[in-house]
């Protein structure tokens, strides 16, 4: 086959895979419900190899998807039928750390948490922290504009990417942005981040680093109702505070997390609120007094303040493991990712409860309350005929609910393959057409991650349906959020 021969010219044998058995490891991402065998998988180690690969794909009209650890929950890194997978995990060097300039230049395969580890000796860190940060890569974070728990105060990935070197789908290498905090000219790195692999492959990423907060106060509050926890968020915000994170977990999520990692959560709680303040000592102490007043007034029946880093870590471990922990409650589940205005969280949760009853499926709720970013986990049993379809229908209803409330269909996971239809419900034809025109200007042959994000693009017929946890999840390495 021609393309294999061409790939052999670019890659040594240990950097390409075409055997079906070996390809199977790449047939899906963390949206395990969708599977597709690629034509080949290649493992570039240099920018030149990426350039040569993309040039080849462009010339031959062969679609490709670039991927890192495959933690996408929206099917964004599922192989394109008849296409190749460019696995960037070997491009994993931290090229430069400039502590004075508060920048690091990294390759796309660098795992998110590694940046913070590498810059810790300078008292710095990289702020965006998706729950999968111990395994997800920066390249993937850039593709999906992933966030995490701290987006209200610190922003999403795009707020922390200042410059990029990108290989466009025709093989042209371009530089976008630079190292200054102030991007010069139209914000091209801002446009590239979150473009879901449709504009090419980022081969170096210049990220902004922040000084590690001097002082952190983490408060856990337990409530007898979900509504009370929701009201507490309004009180905290109403007090003029700007917490680094505000999270809520409902009863089902609390129980799952507790069973999995023994975070020490109060098991009788109907909802838990986690609020974290961070910043200079003086500021945090002054705000902490106002925070505890607000939480006391909100009817919490138990309030715990983390006394040290170990207690804080335990609180967050429970929260961050909640997703994979839900696997203990149900053989299968879908993770949804929608956003509603923060003031309408209560309304959204009540409606989700009604939908849950109507579809006869349990829904666990974990969410970034400060950002209005809901993560309903829809539990189902894939062995039961029609259960997956029902779960997907319920997930769709939740997305439509987010749109009715003037929110968004994704806060951090991206549109991918999963939510293409809903993108057309969020944006009008002219909006989508403008995005499509930009896509075609970058990639006239539509070889870059074809079929993802845009509702109209042909995706091919070979996509299959699977079930069960992702291999990484089984290994306890992946958390779905």
């Amino acid at each position: 086959m021609g393309i294999e021969k061409e790939l052999a010219r670019i890659y040594p044998p240990d950097a390409r895979v075409t055997e079906p058995v070996a390809l199977a490891a790449y047939e899906c991402d963390a949206l395990t419900a969708v599977q597709q065998l690629p034509l080949a998988v290649v493992f570039p180690e240099t920018t030149e190899q990426v350039v040569a690969t993309l040039r080849l794909c462009h010339e031959e009209g062969v679609p490709f998807v670039a991927r890192g650890s495959g933690t996408s929950l929206s099917g964004g890194s599922v192989p394109v039928p008849g296409g190749i997978v460019i696995a960037l995990n070997r491009m994993d060097r931290i090229l430069r750390i400039d502590p004075d300039d508060l920048r690091a230049v990294v390759q796309p395969g660098v795992v998110n948490a590694r940046i913070s580890q590498a810059v810790a000796p300078y008292g710095l860190y990289y702020a965006p922290d998706p729950s999968s940060q111990v395994i997800c890569t920066i390249g993937g974070n850039v593709a999906f504009n992933s966030g995490g728990a701290h987006c209200l105060k610190y922003g999403m990935t795009s707020n922390h990417v200042l410059g990029l070197e990108v290989v466009l789908p025709g093989g042209e290498l371009v530089t976008l942005g630079g190292e200054s905090l102030e991007v010069a000219g139209a914000d091209l790195p801002g446009l590239f981040v979150g473009s879901e692999g449709l504009m090419g492959v980022a081969v170096t990423v210049t990220v902004r680093l922040l000084p590690r907060p001097e002082s952190i106060r983490t408060v856990l509050a337990a409530y007898h109702s979900l509504e009370a926890a929701g009201d507490a968020v309004a009180r905290v915000v109403g007090a003029g505070l700007l917490p680094g994170a505000i999270e809520i977990m409902d009863r089902l999520a609390i129980q799952a997390a507790e069973a999995a990692v023994h975070a020490g959560y109060p098991l009788d709680a109907a909802a838990l609120l986690i609020v974290e303040l961070d910043g200079p000592r003086e500021e945090v102490e002054a705000d902490f007094l106002r925070l505890t007043e607000a939480i006391r007034a909100s009817g919490a029946y138990e309030i715990r303040v983390a006394r040290d880093e170990a207690e804080r870590a335990r609180i967050w471990k429970g929260r961050k493991s909640a997703f994979s922990a839900v696997g203990r409650l149900s053989p299968d589940y879908l993770v949804q990712d929608g956003v509603v205005p923060r003031t309408r969280l209560g309304e959204a949760l009540a409606e989700i409860e009604r939908l849950s009853a109507r579809f006869g499926l349990r829904v666990a709720n974990v969410f970034h309350a400060g950002d209005g970013n809901l993560h309903p986990l829809i539990l189902y049993d894939g062995r039961e005929p029609g259960a997956l379809e029902r779960a997907e229908a319920l997930a769709g209803e939740i997305l439509r609910l987010c749109l009715r409330l003037e929110g968004s269909i994704t806060g951090e996971h991206g549109v991918g393959l999963e939510k293409r239809t809903y993108l057309a419900e969020m944006f009008g034809p002219d909006d989508l057409d403008a995005m499509r025109r930009i896509r075609l200007a970058m990639d006239p042959r539509e070889v870059a991650n074809r079929g993802k994000m845009f509702p109209g693009e042909p995706v091919g017929e070979q996509v299959g349906v699977g079930r069960g946890p992702h291999p990484l999840e089984r290994a306890g390495l992946l958390s779905r959020m």
Binding site: G177, L181, G185, L191, G240, P341, N373, D431
Partner: protein, 392 residues
């Protein structure tokens, strides 16, 4: 409509609705949308272009303080927004300049111009959540949304930051806002040399003390010597920027101790400013009011480690220099057109992107163009294939 477009020659278009803006746009070419025109060269239309004055397309569309978001039409004066937010204890953390001069919401986005206060929480790009704009074919396009976290579709709101009216006519913007610090305090420290001042700036910026602003200016900027028209400044009088200004904001009780720790870190006591005098100083710096009026002005996109080299280059030429946002932004002013040539050559040797803000150097506003031109051209082709908004 106040002005009917005619193909015979440029004039000013003043749409009162999005529909009117679309009609005027389709009847005229080239067109530059603009607010109050406060950004000097950035607001200059391409040659032969119609100006589309957006100030009648004004008004707050939506503001729910508890959401930390506000949506306003492009022509809304920032001042309206700032006052409304202040009445609910909120503010625009990117600290936009020229608020008092009439700058608009659309202009703030199109120019991507942030003030010294953008250091702590980010610039315009970090606070734009949603946008509606007319593209080069008159289509009304929406990008982003109205919630603080959103990853759906291409990030068109960010793309329009710094687009200078060349990609479309912004008609509406949604911004993220934050609770305002209840008080601000500033310490002014005089250092002996620029090297020492630059080192202090870098140290504070990477410290966990999280200052809201760190700027380096000549002593005159604080003393206010240059704003008076009766005191023309000779280039030789330009003194090196050895005055360090550090601003913090938060609970009034916390500020003194916070500033005290800044001073301890610097190893120097400074002049502490609070209240109105403090606020006024930052407005003067933010709006570049202290720079000699009518001087030619350039904005540099730096990083802190480039500051010493930039300073050697600019100091030799007798430019007035102001380093803002902890060394990420440089302002350089020279007295007359006669000084452009040497300055332009020096900046090209420095290599950091640089844009003319006041005065027009030969070759356009970009003295040193940013990278990504090939990519930008493709975006331009997609949104404005007929070059209705002039070249990039």
């Amino acid at each position: 409509m106040d002005t009917s477009p005619s193909p015979s020659g440029p004039g000013v278009l003043t749409p009162r609705s999005v529909e009117e803006a679309r009609e005027l746009l389709m009847a005229s070419r080239p067109v530059l949308a603009r607010g109050a025109g406060t950004k000097w060269a950035m607001a200059d239309p391409p040659s032969g272009a119609w100006l589309m004055d957006m100030r009648q397309l004004a008004g707050i569309v939506e503001y729910e303080p508890a959401e930390f978001t506000v949506t306003a039409r492009a022509g809304t004066p920032l001042r309206t927004l700032v006052e409304l937010l202040a009445s609910h204890g909120q503010y625009l953390p990117f600290d936009p300049p020229f608020v008092e001069a009439g700058a608009t919401v659309g202009g703030a986005v199109a120019s991507a111009l942030s003030g010294p206060g953008r250091l702590r929480f980010g610039g315009v790009r970090d606070f734009v959540l949603g946008i509606r704009f007319l593209d080069g074919e008159g289509r009304l396009v929406r990008g982003g949304g109205k919630v603080v976290k959103n990853a759906a579709g291409f990030d068109l709101p960010k793309l329009f930051c710094g687009s200078r009216g060349r990609l479309g006519v912004i008609v509406e913007v949604t911004l993220k806002v934050f609770p305002a610090p209840r008080a601000f305090g500033t310490v002014v420290v005089s250092l002996d040399t620029v090297e020492e001042a630059a080192a202090a700036l870098r140290d504070l910026a990477r410290s966990p003390l999280e200052p809201h602003a760190v700027d380096l200016v000549p002593p005159e900027a604080v003393a206010g010597g240059w704003e008076r028209a009766d005191r023309p400044l000779a280039p030789s009088a330009s003194r090196p920027p050895t005055t360090l200004l550090v601003r913090v904001g938060g609970s009034p009780d916390a500020l003194d101790a916070w500033i005290g720790r800044m001073e301890a870190r610097l190893g120097r006591r400074g002049l502490r400013l609070h209240g109105e005098a403090e606020a006024a100083l930052w407005v003067r710096l933010r709006d570049l009011r202290w720079l000699p009026p009518a001087w030619r002005l350039i904005r540099l996109h730096l990083v802190p480690s480039l500051l010493s080299r930039a300073e050697r280059t600019l100091g030799r030429l007798g430019a007035v220099r102001h380093y803002s946002v902890a060394g990420n932004v440089g302002w350089a002013a020279v007295p007359s057109e006669a000084d452009w040539g040497e300055l332009v050559r020096a900046l090209q040797a420095l290599g950091a992107p640089a844009m003319a803000m006041r005065g027009a150097p030969p070759g356009g506003v970009w003295v040193v163009a940013p990278p990504g031109e090939a990519f930008a051209r493709r975006v331009k082709q997609a949104l404005d294939p007929g070059q209705r908004f002039g070249p990039l």
